[in-house]
């Protein structure tokens, strides 16, 4: 083999780069798999089955946003006999009141950056604002 001095370090760097996730995980403390807090209000059902929500809640939110803001379809959603106004703050966050322990426990684990909260208010912030006025 010619040019051993560059070929071998080059190959070592290549193999280390490709297997980077193995080293990274071996030398870092794994975060615990998200343990979400179910609605503290005691509700038992979500707007759809739990499996469906886990997989599709962002699609659903997107559809609702279009429904409400573009088609003007503001029909309420009924879950477990109770009516909720179609919306992020007006439905989801009424039951899932703790964003940090619910939404974010999954999102942090999977590095999802939910920018909705740039404008929408989490229940905590909304409550704090109400007190001020």
């Amino acid at each position: 083999m010619y040019n051993k001095g560059t070929i071998i370090p080059g190959l070592v760097i290549f193999v280390l780069l490709v297997t980077f996730p193995i080293w990274f995980n071996a030398f870092s403390t794994a975060s615990t798999v998200p343990k979400i807090e179910l609605p503290p209000g005691g509700e038992k059902e979500c707007v759809a089955s739990a499996t469906e929500m886990r997989a599709k809640h962002m699609v659903l939110l997107n559809e609702w946003r279009d429904d409400v803001l573009r088609s003007g379809n503001k029909t309420a959603v009924t879950v477990g006999g109770k009516e909720y106004r179609r919306g992020l703050q007006t439905a989801c966050m009424q039951c899932h009141t703790n964003k940090d322990k619910f939404c974010d426990s999954c999102h942090t684990y999977t590095s999802v950056n939910v920018y909705c909260w740039d404008c929408h208010l989490t229940p905590d912030v909304a409550a704090a604002k109400k007190e001020k006025h």
Binding site: M1, Y2, N3, K4, I7, G10, L11, F14, V15, V18, T19, P21, I22, F24, N25, A26, S28, T29, A30, S31, V33, P34, T51, R54, A55, K56, M58, V59, L61, N62, R65, C106, T108, Y109, T110, S111, V112, N113, Y115
Partner: protein
């Protein structure tokens, strides 16, 4: 025919993964065994290829240059185009890898009436290649979020920039569009340009179609076929893969296995395909040699070892026989002492 075959092969692969992953127990084949196998083939194959290349001697200094080589002091040396030191070679190689300068020089030649020939600059290939490769790279980096736990902050920044347009939920990424468009452009280039179509083979079309299918299944999974695509569950599998303790928890939709199976085929095929140009670019003697053939002698490594033999040495060796045969010699035989 050549492109039809590539499409048929990819459709067959999709069907295998789709139907196969529905058989009980088979998810472990498609989600665990094949990814490991493909990764081993990829690493082993790439190392094998590079070692094989490194064993081939370079008989001549064949660097391609496109500028004034180093010469007399008053002649301006083009350091990037005709590098004469290792540092300059590294700089040239870096720009080649990062900006594809040699594709930038692509020209189109045409014969006009006369007949005379014209050359004109043609940047399409360069442009398509940039779109394609950078999108691919960005997607691979973003996929690290599935394999690293905890996810480092810089991956979040990368996702932010790539998803800057904030269209839809989950967000569309610029690189998703880039990869699909890049594949389509590179594929149409092979179909539309007549002389490129003439020299294109199945092993040019197949990787393009395969990568296109990987991208399309990924996009379908993220935006359209979300049934049973719970990323938390999938991440437990993918982190399991890299911590060597994989488990499949809840059921995962077939589109995931199709995506992963196509990726497995891609990376197992990688070392034996033209895709190896990712390593080949570093081992091209036309680019990685110094342009110093007038200052340093390039010795062909396969030359037999022939030592120089001067006339004086020749005479020393055969003087006795020469004297016997009456051939004139420059130095007479020294009479031995005991005579």
């Amino acid at each position: 025919m050549k492109y039809a075959f590539s499409f048929l092969a990819v459709i067959a692969l999709i069907l295998i993964a789709w139907l196969g992953s529905q058989i009980p127990g088979m998810p472990y084949l498609f989600g665990v065994a094949l990814p490991y196998l493909a990764m081993i083939i990829f690493l082993g194959g790439c190392v094998y290829k590079v070692v094989q290349w490194a064993k081939s001697p370079v008989p001549f200094p064949i660097q391609t240059t496109c500028g004034q080589g180093k010469s007399l002091d008053f002649i301006k040396h083009n350091r990037l185009e005709a590098p004469s030191t290792n540092g300059e070679v590294v700089a040239r190689m870096f720009l080649e890898v990062v900006t594809f300068r040699s594709l930038f020089r692509n020209t189109k030649s045409e014969i006009h009436e006369g007949p005379y020939i014209t050359y004109e600059s043609s940047k399409w290939l360069w442009c398509f290649a940039l779109i394609f490769h950078y999108s691919f790279f960005s997607i691979v980096v973003r996929h690290l979020r599935l394999f690293l736990d905890p996810v480092p902050a810089w991956i979040g920044w990368w996702e932010f920039v790539d998803g800057l347009f904030e269209v839809g939920a989950p967000t569309w990424y610029i690189s998703d569009v880039g990869l699909v468009v890049g594949c389509l452009l590179l594929f149409s280039r092979r179909l539309i340009t007549r002389h490129v179509r003439y020299i294109s083979l199945v092993n040019d079309y197949f990787p393009l179609v395969l990568i296109f299918a990987v991208a399309v299944t990924g996009i379908l999974m993220r935006f359209f076929l979300r049934a049973d695509i719970d990323i938390v569950n999938i991440k437990q599998l993918t982190v399991g893969l890299v911590t060597l303790s994989p488990v499949i928890g809840a059921k995962i939709g077939a589109i995931f296995y199709i995506h992963v199976f196509l990726v497995c085929v891609l990376i197992a095929y990688f070392p034996f395909s033209k895709l190896m140009h990712f390593a080949g670019v570093f081992l091209s003697p036309t680019r990685n040699l110094r342009n110093d053939s007038r200052a340093v002698r390039h010795i062909n490594p396969w030359n037999p070892k022939i030592l120089p033999h001067s006339y004086a040495g020749y005479e020393d060796e055969f003087r006795e026989f020469m004297v016997n045969a009456d051939i004139p010699v420059e130095k007479e035989l020294t009479p031995s002492k005991d005579e």
